[in-house]
């Protein structure tokens, strides 16, 4: 839910929502009529209608013909937050790749409903404006992008990226940045720059399988750090590992960890930066989701507090502008030369064409307006999915409550097997992501990641309902 809102009707909708949540209006209760709302709150009839339309969309109320609006939501406690995770303090070999091959990819099936989409739906991206920007770039540069180009990436685009780091107080120049083929390449290059096969990488537990697979592919090992679904990794446990010299580098998604949703508070990030400094351990920071805060404020990054270049900051345009453009970047700090050379030795330069298009978009369109709308949509969708889970899943389900992005971490009853759920859901043409994909240990078998990346609709509601039934049947 967005924490502030410019629109009158949304403010009022928020208030009524609160009243329903608190039970002031219970399921089945009739709400004030549109006319009453209009008179009591001194708003126009159309605004009053918008309030109820909004609450209907959010799933709280339903209109009954010629009778008015009623609370339809069956009041239940919001699921409990999962506790801080408790991975073993053991260095482990990562083996996620093999599991990944078992994932049912239903994209090719008509009517497949993904409860785990990897990026916002196309309709949430500024397609027309990006298209305009692309055409502008193509027309004005014509042949420039046909030939080899700047190995570090298109300088004017790097300048824009540098400027945008101001939102997290990063004092970065365009010459500090290297453009990559998506954030995955950035992370892969950083890992190779700071560690070698056999080295140990400290990671959040759970963490994104893409990171685990990259670690696996490089023959590195993992040390999973206990992670709280709100505040992120345990600094105490991390320092403990540092003290025992067990860690060669860290790889954290500091903002809205995928899948857990945790976002370390600024004070924690500052303390983490100090720890890195004290023990001289590099951190690869994946800030892919940093722009997708539901509230009004862009969270800080660990890089914000990095004084000696130990943080290699990675991000991309994939989650808010154009996943298929495969454009990411890295601010490698003191590892700049190593990363630059590895980039040269791995994929050479990044294609100029998408860089020109994104640059033209940032320069001539209104990225911040788009981001604002996207954040609002993701906040709403996340809330809608959480509500559906609350409604249809067993009472003992635990659920994260992320303040950004669109990933939800669902912890089911211990007896639930989410790989079995994955199998059964696939037979219903529904996709979910089992929890064991997010760890290098034998953990999270009863957990899964769901993603609220798609605009909410009845198909999604039904898919949540169906998976809820399957879970109950399993018990």
């Amino acid at each position: 839910m967005p924490k502030t809102d410019d629109f009158l009707y949304q403010q009022l909708a928020d208030k009524i929502e609160l009243l329903i949540e608190k039970g002031v209006y219970a399921a089945g209760d009739k709400l004030p009529s549109v006319r009453e709302l209009h008179q009591e709150h001194n708003i126009s009839i159309s605004t009053a209608l918008q309030v109820y339309t909004q609450l209907e969309k959010r799933g709280w109320i339903a209109a009954r013909e010629r009778s008015g609006y009623y609370v339809q939501y069956t009041q239940r406690q919001r699921p409990q937050l999962p506790a801080i995770t408790t991975p073993r303090a053991a260095i482990t070999t990562v083996k996620v790749n093999e599991q990944m091959q078992r994932i049912h990819d239903g994209r090719q099936y008509k009517g497949f409903i993904s409860l785990d989409a990897a990026a916002p739906a196309n309709e949430l991206f500024p397609l027309n404006k990006l298209h305009k920007a692309l055409l502008h770039a193509v027309r004005s540069h014509k042949a420039a992008f046909v030939h080899y180009n700047d190995l570090n990436g298109y300088e004017p685009l790097r300048k824009h990226i540098a400027r945008r780091t101001l939102s997290w107080k990063g004092a970065v120049n365009s010459s500090d940045i290297i453009i990559t083929n998506g954030c995955m390449e950035a992370i892969s290059l950083c890992l190779r720059a700071v560690a070698k096969a056999g080295d140990t990488i400290a990671i959040e537990s759970p963490t994104f399988f893409g990171l685990l697979m990259t670690i696996e592919s490089l023959g590195m090992k993992a040390l999973e750090i206990p992670t709280d679904p709100v505040s992120g990794i345990s600094l105490e446990k991390l320092e403990d590992a540092f003290r025992k010299k067990r860690v060669n580098a860290c790889l954290f998604i500091s903002n809205y960890n995928n899948p857990l949703g945790s976002c370390m508070p600024a004070a924690g990030k500052k303390a983490l930066a100090q720890l890195l400094h004290k023990y001289q351990v590099p951190l690869i920071e994946d800030d892919t989701f940093g722009e997708l805060h539901h509230g009004p404020e862009r969270p800080a990054t660990v890089k914000t507090f990095d004084k000696d270049g130990l943080v290699l900051h990675c991000s991309s345009f994939s989650k808010w502008l154009a996943p298929g453009y495969r454009l990411g970047w890295v601010i490698p700090g003191r590892y700049y030369t190593q990363v630059q050379q590895l980039k040269f030795m791995t994929t050479f330069s990044t294609g100029l064409l998408p860089q020109l298009a994104v640059h033209s978009y940032l320069e001539h369109q209104r990225p911040d307006l788009h981001l604002k709308q996207l954040r609002g949509a993701l906040a709403l969708q996340t809330q809608q999915m959480a509500r559906a889970i609350q409604q249809y899943y067993p009472d003992d389900t635990q659920l994260s409550n992320p303040e950004g992005s669109f990933n939800l971490w669902v912890v089911c009853n211990k007896r639930t097997d989410t790989w079995e759920l994955h199998r059964q859901a696939a037979a219903h043409n529904i996709g979910i992501m089992p929890g064991t994909l997010f760890t290098s240990q034998q953990k999270y078998k009863n957990c899964m990641r769901l993603s609220a990346a798609l605009p909410w609709n009845e198909d999604l509601t039904r898919a949540v309902q169906t998976t809820g039934k399957l879970i109950r049947k399993m018990l």
Copy 2:
């Protein structure tokens, strides 16, 4: 020089060229007049004029006002071919990256003349048609390329690539191909798929520094195989290494090796494929230059003769269509799954936009006509550069005589130091590529790579002249 030619005037030009080379016409001799040519050879006046224009372009003759055409070329022996190389039969640690940092990159200086351009000049690419294709792709797909797409690459493009493999008798399906971010990524992924840090890769000696740097970055070692500037690596020495179990994988540029220009005959490739089979050693085949044959026939590849999927065939559009698009591909044979997974773990999918543009180009334009023109241009340029070297470099210079692509391998007098030449040439705003970049051993200090990738002009002639003077001064 193209070996056959559709055009009457080029056939006649070739004949006259031969007469000059054989000394029938010597420097200063007057050639038959245009009218005589017209009468004797039963060709039109305009065709006769074209013959002499062509020979002028090739640098053999010059027109004197109101007098006719004269042989201007000072007849000298074509430089000797370099002998087969003789690297030590030692497994070596690769250290090229550091040297690479010393290369003077003059691209930013106005008036800089590169005698070592990495790809054909923009004007040799079909810019307008590619532009048209790009616009067509952008308009007809609009939003499709914004989202994540097929991990293996755009299927219709893979189909085109599969069809094109017919030219080297590759029986390949689109599902055998994975699109990559240029050939460099393909090779990097293949190396990781078939070998690990510490393993030994057999390579040509000399070979492209990009390959050496990729081996270096992955912590692998190199075993350089003696390589003949015409017929490629010594199969005998390779089998010797196989027999001693010293090689984990091979990485060869089988067609027009960069920098040596060697092209293994089909029989050699067949024998190589049999060796790979006998000893079960995989080969990563870099066929980047395969399309750039000067003669009429597309050379075979080792993959042509590969019966059990041991050849991982890599190529790209970088050298004949659009270097800046960063589009390559790999046909990984029996290593398909490993390469696919590594791709996923390294850069995820390849951007769709350039794939759509190239697909539209291949589908709606005439790539084979363009290739024909490009081959002719590169053949001519290579000949022009060779002639300038012949004219301005010391008599004891050895020079490769490649039948494809645009790289020339220049072996100077033993006392020449091409790093010193590089330094001195840079002061004259001229770029060359020192020979030590192309080996993991202490070799090729008196060698360099020059590239005839740019349309020949007076600046290039002067640059060859200048470097020739610098070499003479050094002795």
